[in-house]
């Protein structure tokens, strides 16, 4: 299907866990430096030839860096805003009634938001103020704040099997594993020699996680023996911005990078790079794999385009 043109630069895409035809996009004006932002909710047509349609859009005063769908309500979205606020949107309500909530606690840009897929009632926000906050949608204030990193926290990811465990990636070059029942981090993985931009858990092996870093590599770690990575995947030419594990195949990962490519990896295989898509003309910054449709991929970048395509096909095909 043809690409969807967005007015601003794209930052993140997420498939809805309830509806296989829905996609949320976080965008920011002026590359997120300074300007407004917008949250788009798109509808993917069932037939490949039809264009993508926008069903809702919400404007924000500052850039939207990340978006997450609620796991308990099919119409709720959580957006991470560059002015430090976290906004909750309801697509069932008219735009005049949105946002539903505006939670202002972080003192710097909120870079990532992740919803708990097991408990379904809480979400994490990672911010450049070195802290991660735990929230529930019904409370106006955060439940907990995790402040241990020495630099900006770029991502937080819940473990898919253990409802209270999550990992965080930070610019202080470490990945920390936390348990919300414990007062502090339970594990510190010195993942890279440079900033770690993203981390994600393996959906089939709860002890494996992958990290994406400025040093152009993706490393896969096992928390049981975290001193040495399971594997190091090189292949990108610039910093790797995101890496996500597939919800359908245990060792498959997708990554996007500042070298404008989206790559697919299988870390169990000798030659790990199994796919490479070169469709973006600017930094590829957001990528996601659909949970409900196997092989459906989405990506967005600073070239103001959103692509949705099936793995194996050409994303630019109309």
């Amino acid at each position: 299907m043809p690409a969807f043109k967005i007015p601003f630069n794209g930052y993140s895409v997420k498939f809805s866990p309830f509806n296989e035809n829905r996609l949320a996009v976080a965008t920011a004006q002026n590359f997120g430096i300074l300007g407004n932002g917008r949250v788009h909710v798109l509808s993917i047509p069932p037939s490949p030839g039809a264009p993508i349609v926008e069903t809702a859009a919400y404007d924000t005063a500052d850039a939207v860096y990340d978006i997450a769908w609620s796991e308990s309500h099919d119409s709720l979205l959580v957006a991470a805003i560059a002015d430090g606020s976290v906004k909750v949107y309801d697509t069932n309500l008219p735009p005049a009634s949105n946002p539903l909530r505006s939670l202002q606690e972080h003192t710097r840009e909120v870079h990532a938001v992740d919803y708990n897929p097991s408990r379904r009632d809480s979400f994490l926000t990672a911010s450049w103020d070195d802290s991660i906050k735990l929230w529930t949608v019904d409370r106006p204030i955060s439940v907990r704040t995790f402040k241990e990193h020495a630099y900006c926290v770029y991502a937080a990811a819940w473990n898919p099997r253990h409802a209270d465990v999550f990992a965080s990636a930070s610019g202080d070059c470490t990945v920390r594993v936390w348990d919300v029942r414990e007062p502090g981090s339970t594990m510190i993985i010195p993942a890279h020699d440079f900033e770690v931009l993203y981390t994600d858990w393996n959906k089939y092996d709860d002890c494996i996680l992958a990290t994406a870093s400025v040093d152009k590599s993706i490393r896969v770690w096992d928390v049981r023996s975290f001193r040495v990575p399971v594997t190091v995947l090189n292949g990108h030419n610039y910093a790797v911005r995101k890496v996500k594990f597939s919800p359908h195949r245990g060792s498959l990962m997708i990554s996007c990078s500042y070298d404008m490519t989206v790559c697919l990896w299988d870390y169990m295989v000798e030659d790990a790079l199994v796919g490479r898509y070169d469709h973006h003309t600017e930094f590829a910054v957001g990528v996601d794999m659909s949970v409900l449709v196997e092989g459906l991929l989405a990506s967005t970048g600073w070239d103001e385009l959103v692509y949705v395509w099936q793995h194996g096909t050409d994303p630019r095909a109309p």
Binding site: F31, D59, Y65, R108, R227
Partner: protein, 452 residues
């Protein structure tokens, strides 16, 4: 004048004679009293003198920290300032700063590490075995975690070698200049666990705050009680307050001593001296062999007492001046901090999306400097950082292999750095319109997740 007459003078006789007789007797008594008193007072004066000297020495000794090892990041406002500065710098030079601690610390680490600190095999195997056993139980555990150890906890024992390396690193003089949070972060980056880092901090050899408190308790008299109680409790954070307390107490004792001297001892000694001198004028012949000595002694004692008083006054004044100076410095620092905070707020509001720059840091993997991308149909041309040295963006010169940014990005960055906003920004009110709006019921139920 006839001094030999010892008869009590009548009122009408030669006044001088009468006076001399009365004065003589009074002076004789007072002279002996004075001599006794002076003799008694002398050692106490000496003791006081010694005490004041020792306490001032203690104040000086309190200042003697070995490098900056006693400092912590949070106590010093100037470090807070430097933290704010560093954040501002980071907006511009993220990558360079993100490689803190500086290379001096890296040297220190390299010097102190003999072998690689990659995990030894045995603990790793142990944890792997334990981990696999726990993986089944971890998913179902709802009890307190300590009863069944979670696989997400680092269950390695504390590695002695790593702790020793860390202690060596932390004792390095260059490292001790840096704030504590960066030292901690560096050690964690090197692969030390929390327990190992904590142990290294605990084991630092020159625990100078506790050494200072011990010297203060040994030498100072009055402030010792307070110092001893506060010192061992928290050796890092009270150091500054200890010094101020010491100064305050010493100023108080100095003032007290001075007042004491001024009010009691000096007038007495002066009156004694005056009386003796007067008596000298009246009665020369008899006590000529004693009087000069006595006069000299009293004069010397008075002079010594006056000197002590002067010295303590000077000490007190200098302490007060120091206090004022310190107060001024703190005020100035506060003012600067406020200014920088406000600058930081405005910069943050207007400044670049620094994260977009942060990941675009160089790496030492490949020396790829040329960006061989052709201009695209839409006319955007990519700037090669390494070939075009844009002075307006200092990052460029530091990051040879940073990803090329689109030209419009560079334009916007330049605009922001000139404190202009981009033209297409709109004021949008995105605050929630209905604060008490309830969350709607979901129309779909979440799908049951299949446990694979």
């Amino acid at each position: 004048m006839q001094a030999t007459e010892r008869t009590p003078a009548s009122g009408t006789e030669g006044i001088e004679d009468g006076k001399s007789a009365a004065v003589t007797t009074i002076l004789t008594k007072s002279k002996s009293n004075a001599r006794d008193r002076l003799n008694k007072a002398m050692p106490w004066v000496r003791v006081l003198e010694a005490a004041i000297c020792m306490s001032s020495f203690a104040v000086m000794a309190a200042d003697k920290t070995q490098g900056w090892s006693g400092d912590t990041f949070d106590r010093y406002r100037e470090y807070r300032l430097s933290a704010v500065y560093k954040r501002l710098e980071r907006l511009q030079f993220e990558f360079l700063i993100s490689r803190s601690p500086p290379s001096a610390a890296e040297e220190g680490w390299e010097m102190s590490t003999q072998s690689g600190h990659d995990g030894k095999q045995d603990p790793v195997e142990e944890t792997a075995q334990r981990g696999s056993g726990d993986a089944q139980t971890a998913g179902t555990e709802t009890t307190y975690p300590k009863s069944s150890p979670s696989v997400f906890v680092n269950s390695e024992p504390v590695r002695e070698e790593q702790v020793q390396n860390a202690v060596k690193f932390l004792s390095h003089p260059k490292v001790q200049v840096s704030p504590v949070i960066y030292r901690r972060s560096f050690l964690e980056k090197k692969g030390l666990t929390k327990e190992e880092v904590d142990q290294a901090f605990r084991r630092l050899p020159d625990s100078s705050p506790s050494a200072q408190t011990s010297t203060i308790t040994q030498e100072a008299a009055a402030p010792s009680g307070v110092m001893a109680s506060t010192g061992p409790a928290n050796r890092y954070s009270f150091h500054w307050y200890l010094a101020l307390l010491a100064i305050g107490f010493l100023a108080g004792t100095g003032a007290g001593t001075v007042i004491f001297f001024k009010k009691s001892v000096i007038p007495r000694s002066r009156s004694l001296v005056q009386a003796v001198v007067l008596r000298e004028e009246i009665d020369v012949s008899k006590e000529t062999h004693l009087r000069p000595n006595l006069a000299e002694k009293t004069a010397a004692a008075a002079a010594a007492a006056a000197d002590i008083a002067q010295a303590s006054e000077e000490l007190l004044n200098s302490k007060l001046q120091e206090k004022k100076f310190l107060g001024e410095i703190m005020n100035l620092l506060d003012v600067q901090l406020c200014e920088i905070k406000s600058v930081g707020v405005t910069v943050k509001n207007l400044q670049a999306n620094s994260h977009a720059e942060k990941p675009l840091s160089n790496s030492d993997f490949s020396a790829s400097t040329t960006i061989s991308r052709q201009p695209y149909a839409n006319g955007k041309i990519y700037w090669d950082y390494s070939s075009v040295g844009r002075s307006s963006i200092p990052r460029a010169s530091l990051e040879p292999s940073a990803a090329p940014h689109p030209r419009s990005y560079m334009e916007i960055m330049a605009m922001v750095q000139r404190w202009e906003g981009p033209p297409n920004m709109k004021g949008i009110d995105d605050s929630r319109p209905y604060p008490n709006q309830p969350i709607s019921y979901p129309s779909l139920n979440p799908r049951m997740k299949v446990d694979l």
